[in-house]
Amino acid sequence: MLWSKKRKNKNWPVAVLALIVFLILGLWLSSSELAAQKKKEDKRTATLHNKSQQKLTPARSLLELREPIQRIKVMSSSQTGGSGEKYSPHQVLVKFRSELTTQSADDILTAYQAKSYHLIPKINVYVVHLEEGISVEDTLSALRNNPDVAYAGPDYKLHLCTTPNDQLFRYQYALSNPGGQLLIPGSPTAKPQADIKATGAWDYVKGDPNTLIAVLDTGIDYTHPDLASKVIDHGRDFVNDDDDAYDDAWHGTHVAGIIAAATNNSEGIAGVAWNCRLLAGKVISASDEGDYSDLIEALIWAADYTNGNAKVGVINMSIGGPEPDDFLEEALRYAYNKGIVLIAAAGNEASQGISYPAAYDSYCLAVGATDYNDKVASFSNYGPELDVAAPGVGIISTIPLAQTDPGYLPYAYANGTSMATPHVAGLAALIKSAKPWLGASDIMKLIKYSPDDVEAAGFDDYTGYGRINAKRALAPYILR
């Protein structure tokens, strides 16, 4: 032990020198290893990036608007760009305490080996460029421990939100509203961002093909070019008691397109639940009529439906009736207890009172309609059971080929809480895809607690908790 022995050897300076050399050698080896590691990771990231590049009335008073749509040039897709880095590896943002002089701030930044920096005026934030080899993390860690620093954070990367290349996406203000004069019937002027923030959500989740959304409606035209690849089978027709839920009206096909039309396929529209698939349950006849019994039966059927690994995660009911019913409630409970998120339209009578099944607050999310200005749609029913709202005015979507007039594309505009509901169903499907372990209750709460408050502050009977915000529900919340 040192100090316990009195040796006469005077070579200790040589030993210290040897140790220092040894340590330097070790550090050099570690940095080379780190550099090699980083190079390998960069290469792997680049490879992944390259690979990815290869690659019961129908809400009773529906208003259908059909406008001829001119064939429009297909714009090239504008996918999420950038390197995938969350923040710049060479820059940080720093704000000093207000009492600090500019000279002192300069001295501090110099001490932290800033290569260069500049001040963003008015808010007094420095953009600091770091020397090569200086890590953002270490610099931030040091700055945050400096009592003169009020805030130090990374310089996060901006990128374009994921935008699909579907030909008619530009008409879908509900998914991404640019504001100004809209390309929908009447050419109204819209408020920017009065949308469900779908593009922001798609940066994180595009949905799982094994998450099915059951559309209990007039059926789905499964031959439609924008739906054929998304409808899992021919479904079940509870009105005519057969296994062919082909849409002999138009409503179900319109709803289905809003939820999950084939997306990023250079044609037609984009669906909210980009990669999810659809299951058709026909409970409304060609003459827009349906019985509670058919809906009850369809709920049980959809809840138990499986096809390979695919099963129903969300049920969309853009339908409603005026009366409560114990059996209907029991069927809802059955599906809810299987973890299925139930979404239903509030109704289009512009009156107090939410339709059933939407009014079953414990099991169902009730959806009202807003417009391109985040104003409540004139027809949307209201009441305390209303949970959230979504755009339901001037919504473009798919219609059956059989209903398409010559010279027109098989798409049409429609108004209604029926059109608002599938936006919420699409969001529910995205959440279910990303977090299949969440129960129906948690997904309903997440949808209710993440909207933009667009009417009276807080909860109100016209928009519930507000117009849904898919990005807020799905994007990671950064703890700083």
């Binding site: 032990m1 040192l2 100090w3 316990s4 022995k5 009195k6 040796r7 006469k8 050897n9 005077k10 070579n11 200790w12 030993a15 210290v16 040897a18 140790l19 040894f22 340590l23 070790g26 550090l27 570690s30 290893e33 780190l34 590691q37 993390e137 931030l140 860690s141 945050r144 990374p154 994180y204 990303a434 977090k435 372990w437 969440l438 948690d442 709460k445 997440l446 209710k448 607690y449 993440s450 909207p451 408050d453 807080g458 909860f459 908790y465 507000g466 807020r472 529900a473 799905l474 994007a475 990671p476 919340y477 950064i478 703890l479 700083r480």
Partner: protein, 265 residues
């Protein structure tokens, strides 16, 4: 990858072989040592130690580094029972786990809040077995555990205000062999080659009205090997410094450095 694993296994076999080789001589050597003139009375040194610690960890599928800064009060008992040097330490540590994403929670949380303060306690023991010339060889072991203090965050921008609570902890245990050279008057260099494991959890809970969730991220040190190089550097008769550099040559290379100043009673 396979080559790395092979190298790791070779190292483990080598370490085990050395321990097995040393073990038979242990009893005799201890007796010899007890009788030798080298055997000194037990004594205690006290001091402060500052550690920087940056070790590769695996968390779920991803890998990253766990960075930690420690300020420790340390007591070193020398020649306890005539054979063992025992070190006890306690102090504060700040661990940085930035970049952990808790995506099992209803609202996904991305932890970017930097260091979390916590308390560290631990012990280390050196057990000299062989004295040859001016060299000393023996077994070494250490253990330290860090308990992060709970850190709360507001979750804003939603309909209801929410709260997230972070509770991390980790521990590290190592065992192996050491060699020290006692031939110099004022400096005693040493090297330690150890098998070292790190494990821990980062528990995150979130609450927003009646929406809540909890997620535990498990943390595991990548690699099992650690090499320490250091020395005791005499400043005065009673005051000495102990600088140490430690390397973790694993898939995510890590290193640690510490500097302690001690007073010998």
């Amino acid at each position: 990858m396979a080559a790395k694993k092979m190298r790791g296994r070779k190292f483990l076999w080598l370490a085990l072989a050395l321990i097995v080789f040393l073990a038979p001589g242990f009893k005799a050597q201890t007796e010899l040592y007890a009788e030798s003139e080298l055997n000194q009375a037990a004594s205690w040194d006290f001091g402060l130690r500052f550690d920087f610690f940056d070790r590769g960890i695996k968390r779920d599928e991803a890998g990253s580094n766990l960075k930690s800064l420690h300020l420790l009060a340390e007591a070193r008992g020398k020649n306890l029972g005539g054979t063992v040097d025992l070190t006890l330490f306690v102090g504060l540590g700040q661990t940085d786990l930035n970049g952990l994403v808790f995506n099992q929670l209803p609202i996904t949380l991305d932890y970017q809040a930097g260091g979390i303060n916590g308390m560290i306690i631990g012990l280390a023991a050196d057990w000299p077995l062989i004295y040859k010339s001016d060299f000393k060889l023996g077994l070494t072991a250490d253990f330290m555990t860090w308990f992060g203090f709970k850190k709360k965050f507001a979750i804003e921008g939603f309909v209801f205000p929410g709260e997230a609570k972070a509770e991390p902890d980790w521990s590290q245990a190592s065992g192996g062999i050491f060699a020290a050279y006692e031939g110099y008057e004022n400096v005693e260099p040493f090297i330690k080659i150890k098998v070292s494991g790190l494990w821990g959890t980062f528990k995150m809970t979130e609450n927003m009205q009646d929406l809540s969730g909890e997620e535990n991220k498990s943390l595991k040190g990548s690699g099992l090997m650690a090499i320490s190089l250091g020395c005791h550097l005499k400043l005065t008769d009673r005051l000495y410094l102990t600088p140490v550099a430690e390397f973790y040559p694993a898939s995510k290379f890590g290193l640690a450095a510490s500097l302690g100043v001690f007073y010998a009673f």
